[in-house]
């Protein structure tokens, strides 16, 4: 049967570029955090795609397996698992910066904050 081939990688790149676009083009800081999240998911997706083996199964040993079961690669899973948790911690840090900026300037738009900064 015809597999997806490189389709997964291309979709990963599409997602990544959408995240990058949000990061560059949007001035709203919460939106930027959302863009960063999209970007992060795409990277995770990239690693997990590399880990998949055709016909394989999740890397949890099947009871009574004597070497005939094909497992997907567990190493990228480990890396991404911790990456997700670290990602949320960083998101929280970014969001707390946003909250502080809003308390200080009353705005979370990049250009408005920049303008106020120039006035002072």
């Amino acid at each position: 049967m015809l597999g997806p081939g490189l389709y997964n990688y291309w979709m990963v790149i599409v997602l990544m570029m959408m995240g990058l676009y949000v990061l560059m083009a949007k001035g709203n800081m919460v939106k930027k955090v959302i863009g960063l999240n999209i970007f992060q998911v795409s990277v995770i997706m990239f690693y997990v795609t590399m880990a998949k083996v055709r016909g394989g199964t999740a890397p949890i040993l099947v009871p009574g397996d004597a070497g005939e079961v094909l497992y997907s690669n567990p190493v990228p899973h480990v890396l991404m698992l911790t990456a997700i948790v670290v990602g949320i911690a960083n998101t929280a840090l970014a969001l707390s910066l946003v909250v502080r900026i809003h308390e200080e300037f009353g705005s979370i738009e990049e250009d408005e904050v920049q303008k106020m900064e120039d006035h002072v």
Binding site: L2, I13, I44, A51, K52, I60, T82, A89, E103
Partner: protein, 351 residues
């Protein structure tokens, strides 16, 4: 069939991401982000990454959404209208970078290729073939996470600890003096004391949000906690472990706080206690490592913890996962309390 699911889910993911880029209502965008996260977790399952899926579901759809919503509740709901519909320079950059990346993928092995370098690498083979005899946990992901790469996981625990400390320092201190304050969504009494007259009439509505919701929450929370413990201690055998269990546990408490208000939840888990637990988890992790050194092994070499190496590994993984679980639960809850308890704070400077 699985390939079809893979293709369709990826397509949905792209459509959702496009919606995320276009939407200017940040609230709607946040909800769409939780949908995005659910979809991606579905994809992880198709690609056999069950542990990643369970983490993404708990973190992306749960905690991350809650933090974003809490941030929006205390800042602004809408994005400013852009000057142009499409910014040309970023678009060009994105197209060029994307094109270069696509060109780069042409050399990649196909999806699911069993002969790809990452599958045939000696490390991968070693983990897949030897972990049963060396570590003994059926879940290879847990074996690698807690045992083979234990030092790395220690680093991750430290990173989230540091991030939480950073957030606590940014938001935990006193507010600016002349700021206009309104109470947090989850703390009605706060509103009364800060907003002054007219706040009293809001009280009853706030406190009794919804009787049905209260009863359902009250009966569900214990089971959620139980389930968190199951995920924590079943991590050797199935998908799960400290990271996931910590988030699930935190979600249980967060659900309670959402329905009953912050104060009752904080009576059970005061912020001070959370701060202590935050440090305790990381400390426990490091202490286990040092203890194995005292016993004559390397840092985090669990084999020396008990009589047989397998038994020692089992004990070590259990303890380390517990340490991670404590850290993650404390971090997530501390962050949730921080954001949810903040309350709206208006601009300090005049425009």
């Amino acid at each position: 069939m699985l390939n079809l699911v893979d293709v369709l889910l990826f397509f949905f993911l792209a459509v959702t991401a496009l919606g995320l880029v276009r939407l200017r209502d940040l609230f709607a965008a946040t909800m769409l982000l939780s949908l995005f996260s659910l979809l991606s977790a579905g994809l992880f399952i198709v690609m056999d990454a069950v542990d990643v899926a369970i983490t993404e579901a708990a973190v992306g759809a749960g905690i991350s959404t809650m933090l974003l919503l809490a941030t929006l509740a205390i800042t602004k709901r809408r994005e400013k209208a852009p000057r142009r519909e499409v910014e040309l320079v970023p678009l060009m950059v994105v197209l060029v970078v994307g094109g270069a990346l696509v060109w780069g993928t042409l050399e990649m092995p196909e999806y699911g290729d069993p002969d790809a370098p990452s599958q045939t690498s000696p490390m991968t083979r070693h983990f897949l073939e030897k972990s049963r005899d060396e570590v003994g946990a059926p879940n290879i992901v847990t074996s690698i996470l807690a045992s083979y790469r234990g030092y790395d996981t220690f680093g991750e625990a430290t990173v989230i600890f540091t991030a939480a400390v950073g957030a606590l320092m940014l938001l935990g201190g006193r507010r600016p003096k002349d700021a206009r304050l309104t109470g947090s969504v989850l703390q009605p009494h706060n509103r009364q004391s800060l907003a002054g007259a007219g706040a009293d009439e809001m009280q009853p509505k706030e406190l009794h949000l919804n009787r049905i919701l209260e009863v359902a929450t009250k009966s569900l929370v214990p089971f959620i906690m139980m389930f968190g413990l199951y995920v924590q201690f079943h991590g050797d055998y199935g998908p799960g472990g400290g990271f996931q269990a910590g988030v699930i546990f935190a979600t249980g408490v967060a659900l309670y706080a959402l329905v009953f208000g912050l104060t009752p939840a904080q009576r059970v888990l005061p912020p001070r206690l959370l701060e202590a637990l935050l440090a305790l988890g990381v400390f426990l992790f490091g202490a286990i490592g040092l203890w194995t050194m005292v016993l004559g092994g390397n840092f985090l070499e669990y084999g020396v913890l008990s009589d047989g190496p397998l038994h020692g590994q089992h004990l070590g993984i259990l303890l380390v996962e517990l340490a991670v679980g404590i850290t993650v639960a404390a971090v997530m809850l501390a962050l949730f309390f921080l954001f949810a308890g903040r309350g709206f704070c208006g601009p300090q400077r005049k425009r």
